[in-house]
Amino acid sequence: MLKMIHLSKAYRTEVVETYALRDFSINVREGEFVAVTGPSGSGKTTFLTIAGLLEEFSGGEYLLDGTDVRHLNDNQRSKLRNEKIGFIFQAFNLIPDLNVYDNIEVPLRYRGLGADERKRRIQESLQRVGLSARARHYPAELSGGQQQRVAIARALAGSPRLLLADEPTGNLDTQMARGVLELLEELHRDGATIVMVTHDPELAVRAQREVHIVDGQVVDLAGQPRRVAGVNAQL
């Protein structure tokens, strides 16, 4: 589903070249729930933005659902992003002057779906996250947990092949975070492929597999014994 081979990402200035990712390889299979962890500045978010086709990379290969994305132009990348990827952000990133319904509609509009199809998908995804009654509310009228559920509904509405989540519970209190996480797990059980970036070890253990990034390189922990949340919290 998501395959990066020896991928690198360098930020260049006139005097210095800094690698955010170096010789970075990862293979996420269909239906997997992968947690990407690592300390601040390790390159987690850069990995996610490249995976989401929001940023170009400097070298290596990236295959998204079998498509080599290296030579795609902006239109092709946008189309691929729209069709294959659903984003869930830490800050929810709902558009404040659109209500819940219109927020979820955004990616469907860009896909060019008809009004009936859009409506059906929006209603389905709202039902899925339990917010059918809030369709006409504006983001400011919702709690943080509800906003994140709307963001998830928006990601789901497009029936993406891959869900990319960036610290999805980072801005939520424990109870709300639990709700959101349970929703992600439920989606995974239903067959969604999820890649979740987090620095929270408690979240990471809920994933099927954890990929640890240090200094822009992958340390695959798949073969290591799973850590216990409590122990992890002290690290």
Partner: protein, 440 residues
């Protein structure tokens, strides 16, 4: 997608009302100022007789000689803008054009048939019958007088619709008698509304003034020794202090127009004028080589500076002002778009291409331009109402917004705003979604 872009544009504009109002105000004020001046300019610069302006000609004949530099200030060639009575009669008699008319303006006391109305003075044009078909003057009742009326110096008159309304209550007055300067004139025609602007056929007085209300045969006016009411230039030549002496002097006071349907007709007429001047030299009246000119209506208006340089400069200033307003609008648009960089980043993440973002932001600029254009139109109407208060009624009458003007103003507003919006929109399309989302 158009409807969706429009919906988003309206929402976005509502989101920051202050910035939106400032942008619309900037566009509106710029459009208002430029459209006001352009309307005045176009009114002054308009072709008063578009169907025939290239076929109607005014001749100039140098009867003062090249040494006389003081004749017409501002005319580099020192040619007179009117002609003498001698030349007028000679040109009329030559019949070298398909139509021709000499003319001048005088003033006549009118004694209305109704005793309820007091006598009044009225501007009167003394001319030939060709004046009416040549200038396509529309008639409400009757027709021009005949060629024999010109020859026989008949007491006939053509009156304007306004005068007919005033004196005859708007009735068909053809055949009725009107007392002018204590002579009975027979009304042969009533004009419909006719107001060429500028008043190209006689620019010696007000270029944008009202036309005359009375038209009588030139020959009758001369016979009755009616003096010209406009400028007469004798350039130091003094004729005998009698009417006959004045007629045979070198004073220029008569306007002359000829209709020359084809280019070759005009060429022939030029040759005719030169031959005429050469003949005058042979007879001893001129002692210099022929110097003549022939201008069509457009050239004549330029020659007369019908549009003053001040108005041209004003138009330039107004458009510079519009440019400054657009720069302001561009700055505001940029600020607005940069304010929304995060939203744009999200939209990009959700599948919007650069082109989509570009279209969406450009729609917003278009809406601002359209509303700005409407505001500009309102300001133009206000500006023109102000202009009408301070300029002559002649110019004032011209300064109205036509449907074409409204179309031009709105198109100009939208196009200019789209142009000003290009850079902010380009910036929006190039927002780096990754950076925006990381910044969150």
């Amino acid at each position: 997608m158009f409807a969706y872009y429009l919906k988003l544009a309206l929402r976005s504009l509502k989101r920051n009302v202050v910035l939106t109002v400032l942008m619309i105000a900037a566009i509106g004020v710029g459009i208002g100022a430029s459209m006001t001046t352009v309307t005045i300019f176009r009114a002054m610069d308009g072709d008063p007789i578009p169907e025939k302006s290239s076929r109607l000609f005014a001749p100039q004949i140098d009867n003062y000689g090249p040494d006389n530099k003081k004749v017409v200030a501002g005319d580099a060639e020192h040619l007179q803008d009117q002609i003498t009575y001698i030349d007028a009669v000679n040109l009329m008699n030559a019949k070298a054009a398909s139509r021709q008319a000499a003319m001048y303006v005088t003033a006549l006391p009118v004694t209305p048939p109704s005793r309820d109305l007091l006598p009044f003075q009225e501007q009167t044009r003394a001319t030939y019958r060709d004046f009416f078909p040549m200038f396509q003057v529309p008639f409400l009742y009757g027709a021009p007088w005949s060629a024999s009326d010109d020859e026989d110096r008949t007491y006939v008159v053509v009156i304007s619709r306004e005068l007919n309304d005033r004196v005859f209550g708007g009735a068909n007055s053809v055949g009725r008698t009107l007392k002018l300067d204590n002579h009975d004139y027979r009304v042969v025609g009533v004009l419909n509304r006719w107001q060429p602007l500028p008043k190209f056929y006689d620019l010696t007085s007000s270029k944008y003034g009202e036309g005359e209300n009375l038209f009588i045969p030139f020959s009758r006016a001369i016979e009755n020794q009616m003096q010209g009411a406009e400028s007469s230039n004798c350039a130091g030549y003094t004729g005998a202090p009698t009417w006959d002496g004045y007629l045979h002097s070198e004073c220029v006071w008569i306007q002359f127009w000829a209709e020359l349907p084809t280019v070759s007709d005009a060429a022939r007429y030029r040759a005719f004028l030169n031959n005429y001047a050469a003949e005058q030299r042979r007879t001893g009246r001129f002692n210099w080589p022929p110097r003549t000119r022939l201008y069509d209506v457009r050239e004549w208006l330029i020659h007369w500076h019908a549009v003053s340089d001040e108005v041209r400069i004003l138009v330039l200033v107004a458009f510079s002002f519009l440019f400054v307003c657009l720069l302001n609008a561009m700055g505001l648009m940029l600020a607005k778009i940069m304010n929304r960089a995060a939203d744009i980043g999200v939209r990009r993440a959700l599948g919007a291409s650069r082109g989509t973002i570009f279209g969406q932001c450009l729609m917003e600029a278009g809406v601002v331009g359209l509303v700005g254009g409407l505001v500009g139109l309102a300001l133009t109407a206000l500006g023109l109402a102000g202009v009408r208060q301070i300029v002559s009624p002649g110019t004032g009458r011209l300064t109205h917004l036509s449907p074409t003007d409204i179309g031009i103003a709105l198109s100009l507003a939208v196009l200019a705003t789209l142009l000003a919006g290009l850079y902010p929109t380009w910036r929006a399309a190039h927002v780096q979604p990754a950076w925006q989302l990381k910044a969150q």
